[in-house]
């Protein structure tokens, strides 16, 4: 029996055809060559095709999303390039934005790598310190009684508030940026881990107690794996928070990274590069979300959802 083609699949490809037509039609505004834009369109279409071949059940939802993407690009292309309806400086043409990807990809890639280095260092350090401290304080009641109230006072203070002071304290902007991220990740990890240990199922604690495990064994062989779903499950939020902190920190005085890229071109009024930078940050965040989903899938298979 032939499967019915979703309506959104037809609509999305009509929109694609309209977009391609719009790109090649002459317009009011002079723009750069459309080839980088067309490469971008080809990549998006290719990704869509791979997705629906691998997962036929996702045809409808993928087609819906694709239709929105093509509709957005079509509106952008028509409003800016063809009809010149938008502010000439603040709203760049899609051809010009995609041309930035083609011309400046080494710079963008370098910025992404610089940001990711800082991001992963900050996230891993903050998570590791927060989780281990949380496990120890969660397990040893005396420590919990001392540090939990302190954490409740310090944790709600956004780490960006400390940023100017951290910049003064640390030897470089880069280390200061890392510190801002570590602080921003540490406190939620610390508090959540304490709560997770407190809420541990009694049967698991007693199952461990009857094996007469020492504190170190209890913390690293029982509490840590038990707490991992909470840590891994919250990775998406952790990463989003970290990216926000990172971008802010880079805007404050860094000399590399995506945040620096955006604020630098913003200073010169080059909004074409600013928009390109924003798109790159969006793509990076999407990739990070996929990575965290994959990590979650691989590390906590033992959980029933």
């Amino acid at each position: 029996m032939r499967k019915k083609v979703p309506v959104s699949m037809i609509v999305s490809h009509i929109l694609l055809a309209a977009l391609l037509t719009a790109v090649f039609l002459p317009g009011e505004k002079a723009v750069k060559a459309p080839w980088p834009l067309l490469c971008g369109v080809a990549l998006i279409e290719g990704y869509y095709l791979v997705k629906i071949i691998r997962r036929p059940r996702s045809r409808t939802s993928a087609s819906d999303l694709l239709a929105i993407v093509w509709a957005f690009l079509l509106i952008w292309e028509t409003a800016v390039t063809k009809l010149d309806l938008m502010h000439p400086v603040l709203v760049p043409a899609p051809e010009n934005v995609f041309a930035v990807f083609a011309e400046q990809w080494p710079v963008l890639l370098s910025g992404v790598c610089s940001s990711m280095e800082l991001l992963f260092f900050g996230v891993l350090t903050g998570l590791a310190l927060g989780t281990v401290s949380g496990l120890v304080c969660g397990w040893i009641s005396r420590l919990r009684e001392v540090f939990y109230p302190i954490a409740n006072v310090l944790a709600p203070i956004p780490s960006v508030v400390f940023a100017p002071y951290i910049i003064a304290l640390m030897p470089s902007f880069r280390s200061a940026s890392a510190m801002v991220i570590v602080l921003g990740i540490f406190w939620p990890a610390f508090l959540n881990t304490i709560l997770r240990v407190e809420g541990m199922e009694r049967r698991i604690i007693e199952s461990a107690r009857v094996l007469k495990l020492g504190n170190v064994s209890m913390i690293f062989e029982i509490l840590l794996p038990y707490a991992m779903p909470g840590v891994v499950g919250g990775l998406k939020v952790t990463m989003t928070t970290a990216v926000m902190l990172l971008t802010f920190a880079e805007m404050m005085g860094a000399t590399s990274g995506m945040g620096y890229y955006i604020v630098n071109y913003n200073t010169y009024g080059n909004y074409t590069n600013v928009v390109a930078g924003i798109i790159v940050v969006g793509l990076v965040v999407t990739a990070l979300n996929r990575l965290t989903s994959w990590i979650r899938e691989k590390t906590i298979r033992w959980r029933t959802e």
């Binding site: 698991i204 107690r209 009857v210 495990l213 062989e221 794996p225 033992w302």
Partner: protein, 281 residues
């Protein structure tokens, strides 16, 4: 046959006639839950001989699970003491293996890993020996093929089988079981009752299985249940608890065990069940 006396106990095993050593001595225990203020055990005393399969039975709230938790070292009595081989018990230790009603498996470990972990942490085996013991008892409990699965992928009966394998792999001298089959259906419960009888009988015979640590040591089992039928199937001796103290004790022969396990309606079996049921109500 059956011997019964309030607070009395046999000096020789009904199973093999050997003179038995006292394994566990519970002396004048008082226990009150701090949260509720409920006094559960009152001047409670009990003796458990080595190699016995003792069933502790009573109505809900009579203190049988509390007794087991005290034996496991998970609670401390306000008064009295518990001796194991003449030594006063402190907290939990690996000389006692516990099977709870809710399975004690660690959800992040596979079936095999759960059993290996317990055997390794008992302190009696090397890693290699622990792995061998785990394999042996997984085989015995019919869980060998499920070794790579996680507890969330198992049925209730399978989880309790794994819990049994875990407890046995530790090679502890004492097995404490707190209504381990309480949440299972009758068919699965009957299978597991047969399994535990066979495994405990193996340990009594000192079955030479060649597995490290199983040098023919007889295990002593304390099994808490609210099910009279289950107690008659499993026990060499039954202790009835009422109002936080031992109300009566009953030695049970293998014949009665077999009759109840096979649901044979023999006259003496039926008579015994009737008299006990009447008391139990």
């Amino acid at each position: 046959m059956v011997k019964g006396s309030p607070g009395g106990n046999a000096g020789t095993s009904p199973k093999n006639g050997r003179e038995m050593m006292e394994k566990i001595a519970v002396e004048h225990l008082d226990f009150t839950y701090k949260d509720s203020g409920q006094r559960v055990l009152k001047d409670f005393s009990l003796r458990v001989e080595e190699g016995e399969f003792l069933c502790v039975i009573g109505r809900s709230g009579c203190g049988k699970s509390t007794l087991l938790r005290l034996l496991a070292g998970l609670e401390r009595p306000q008064r009295g003491r518990i001796l194991l081989d003449g030594r006063e018990l402190g907290g939990p230790d690996t000389d006692r293996a516990v099977v709870f009603q809710q399975d004690p498996l660690f959800p992040w470990m596979t079936v095999r890993k759960n059993v290996v972990f317990a055997a390794a942490k008992s302190g009696r085996f090397t890693k290699q020996e622990a792995a061998e013991r785990a394999e042996y008892f997984l085989e015995k409990t019919g869980m060998s093929a499920e070794g790579k699965k996680y507890p969330c992928q198992l049925s209730g009966g399978m989880r309790q089988r794994t819990a049994l394998a875990r407890a046995l792999a530790m090679d502890s001298e004492v097995l404490l079981l707190d209504e381990p089959f309480g949440a299972l259906d009758n068919r699965i419960r009957a299978e597991l009752q047969q399994l535990i009888r066979d495994l405990w009988a193996d340990s009594c015979r000192g079955a030479g299985d060649g597995i490290a640590g199983s040098a023919g040591k007889r295990k002593t089992a304390v099994f808490v249940t609210h099910d009279l039928e289950e107690a008659l199937i499993l026990a060499t001796r039954i202790v009835f608890i009422r109002d936080g103290a031992v109300d009566r004790e009953l030695s049970v022969s293998e014949r009665i065990n077999r009759c109840c396990a096979q649901s044979l309606n023999l006259a003496d079996c039926l008579e015994l069940k009737a008299s006990l049921a009447e008391w139990f109500q």
